[in-house]
């Protein structure tokens, strides 16, 4: 047998690349049929409206009369000079950060509690999940009965003892808190479930090793378990962040964005633009801007946690 050398580079790089590409394409061709149905649905039913929305965002288009003129990026320019938009955006980010943060902290605490608990876990887990399965429109109604001024459960309960609790929905600062609590009520269960499942994936031998090294329960949680479920954390945070940005139904029912504009989020403003002012072009522009902002946030989360994962 011959000793062969690397001297067969007579093949041009282009040819080489095309061979590799051909192989990959063959592999992809076999997988295409799997993608096709979903791609069709995504294209016709999602991408098309999305593209259409972007197209509309270039017009000064009134939904009610159908009057429309091409304005280029004027809608975007208008948005960026609109103080109401900036206020709504800052407020939205505040609400999203507070809500998702609260959900994560409570979710993690409870998930860890469930993880440590040795009995009754399944029943508690199921019961805790209930708020998450309630239809959002109805969930908002349920919460209104709790938080409404005077005759709401909280207020009237406190009043029974001659103590007047904060005006949950009527005070601008408290209204923001209430809106955050409302979101947390509905989505902390989701956090708990996912994080609990995540904690259960941690290799027990790692934990035992840490115990032998003398780590405390808290150290084990923060130094061993959390780093090893970092991708799960990234997943729930991203998912929640994206959905919280679209947070609408509950706010609409609870405060309608009020008092004043205290709880008006970007999506509330989109709604107002589209269905009150019929400025569908502007609303679409706002939708596109929202999408880009959220995409940026999502990339940051994924990148940060992704890097952490690389380190551990």
């Amino acid at each position: 047998m011959q000793l062969t050398t690397a001297g067969q580079d007579a093949v041009t790089p282009a040819l080489r690349k095309s061979a590799a590409r051909r192989a990959r394409r063959a592999q992809h061709r076999r997988l295409w049929p799997f993608l096709l149905p979903s791609a069709l649905v995504a294209f016709f039913i999602l991408l098309y409206p999305l593209g259409y929305a972007f197209y509309l965002s270039l017009f000064n288009y009134y939904l009610d009369t159908g009057a429309s003129t091409f304005v280029g990026f004027a809608n975007y320019a208008d948005l960026f000079t609109d103080t109401r938009f900036w206020a709504a955006l800052t407020r939205t980010i505040g609400i999203v950060v507070a809500a998702v943060g609260l959900e994560f902290c409570v979710g993690l605490t409870v998930a860890y509690g469930l993880y440590r608990l040795t009995f009754g876990v399944r029943a508690l887990n199921l019961l805790m999940f209930l708020p998450h399965i309630i239809t959002p429109v109805v969930a908002a109604l349920f919460l209104k009965w709790i938080f409404a001024g005077r005759w709401g459960l909280l207020d009237s309960l406190f009043a029974t003892f001659g103590f007047f609790a904060p005006d949950w929905l009527g005070d601008p600062a408290w209204a923001r808190v209430t809106v955050v609590l409302a979101d947390a009520w509905q989505f902390t269960p989701f956090m708990i479930l996912v994080l609990f499942a995540g904690l259960n994936t941690v290799d027990p031998s790692q934990i035992e090793a840490a115990q032998i090294d003398g780590a405390s329960g808290r150290q084990i949680l923060f130094r061993i378990m959390l780093p090893s479920i970092a991708p799960i954390i990234a997943f729930v945070l991203t998912m929640r962040m994206m959905d919280a940005f679209r947070y609408f139904d509950t706010i609409y029912v609870l405060t309608g964005g009020g008092p004043g504009t205290a709880t008006e989020t970007v999506t509330m403003q989109t709604y107002a633009l589209a269905f009150r002012l019929f400025q569908i072009g502007k609303a679409s522009a706002l939708g596109v801007v929202t999408l880009l902002i959220v995409l940026a946030f999502a990339s940051i989360i994924v990148a940060t946690v992704g890097r952490r994962k690389g380190r551990t």
Binding site: F34, A42, W151, N200, M242, Y271, A274, L295
Partner: protein
């Protein structure tokens, strides 16, 4: 470890978690009570814990307001959505998990952005599309819309399960003589079955509870429960009691479903859940 102390700490932990659960359930329990109270008691100050229950509103919901039909609509639409969405989403997720190259990352990110777009802006094009296809107030319109908005989540979720299946399994199947479809259906899919249940549950939740598209795309023949409930949004307190009664009713099927699936749920999430 001191067994006694261990026991005490377990009980304390249980009590704390039970208290948390109770707090979380308060609005639900309160709504349940509201549904069996006359409005005069439901919104009394101070709140009434002891009252004479009335099943008037539950009776009305089912016997007079035709919620049985809406439940049927909801069931048909959400089950069809789950079946279609999970099957095509799973296929796509499998393909994406087995493809390489930059395009895949791009597709996944594009899917994410579809999830982020405000739904109310999709409602209008959806309506126009459905009108054009003459599908307003039909099941297919609603199912298609739900499948579409469900795709990103389904694909992301299933993708995370599929990437956990070692590629050697596919290769072994290929060598055993399985084609792509056989590999998918007979080998890879059964392995991720717990994940399939989780994805199905969340898709079901989304479809069952979807409101906005249902409002726009359904009509008298296909109206779903959330829309039916929201139609009793206000302007009379009896409507609130009806909403409460209907809301309690709408939860029951999902609760039962959850109970049946709970074992798969935690296991499924633990299996993949984007490890």
């Amino acid at each position: 470890m001191n067994a006694g102390r261990f026991r005490t700490s377990q009980i304390l932990l249980f009590v704390a978690l039970a208290a948390f659960t109770a707090a979380m359930l308060t609005p639900v329990v309160w709504a349940l009570m509201t549904s069996v109270k006359q409005p005069i008691d439901a919104f009394a100050i101070p709140p009434k814990i002891v009252f004479e229950p009335t099943f008037e509103f539950h009776r009305q919901v089912w016997l007079e307001k035709g919620f049985g039909r809406f439940l049927l609509n909801s069931a048909v639409i959400s089950l069809a959505t789950v079946v279609v969405s999970v099957s095509i989403g799973t296929m796509a997720a499998y393909a994406l998990s087995r493809m390489s190259g930059k395009a895949v990352g791009g597709i996944m990110l594009a899917l994410l952005s579809l999830r982020m777009f405000p739904h109310m802006l999709l409602a209008i094009p959806f309506f126009i599309l459905a009108k054009y296809l003459n599908l307003i107030d039909t099941y297919p319109a609603m199912v298609l819309a739900l499948v579409a908005i469900n795709q990103p989540f389904t694909i992301w979720m299933m993708h995370s399960f599929f990437v956990d299946v070692p590629k050697e399994i596919d290769e072994a199947a290929a060598i055993d003589g399985a084609g792509e479809w056989q590999t998918f259906f007979r080998v890879v899919l059964p392995i991720v079955r717990p994940g399939l249940w989780v994805t199905a549950l969340f898709s079901l939740l989304l479809a069952y509870n979807e409101f906005l598209f249902a409002l726009v795309l359904t009509g008298p023949h296909t109206k779903t429960l959330p829309v039916a409930i929201a139609e009793y949004g206000g302007e009379d307190l009896n409507y609130w009691s009806l909403s409460a009664a209907a809301a309690i009713a709408i939860m029951i099927p999902i609760v039962l479903f959850m109970m049946a699936l709970q074992k798969h749920l935690v296991r499924g999430l633990a299996l993949g859940a984007v490890k």
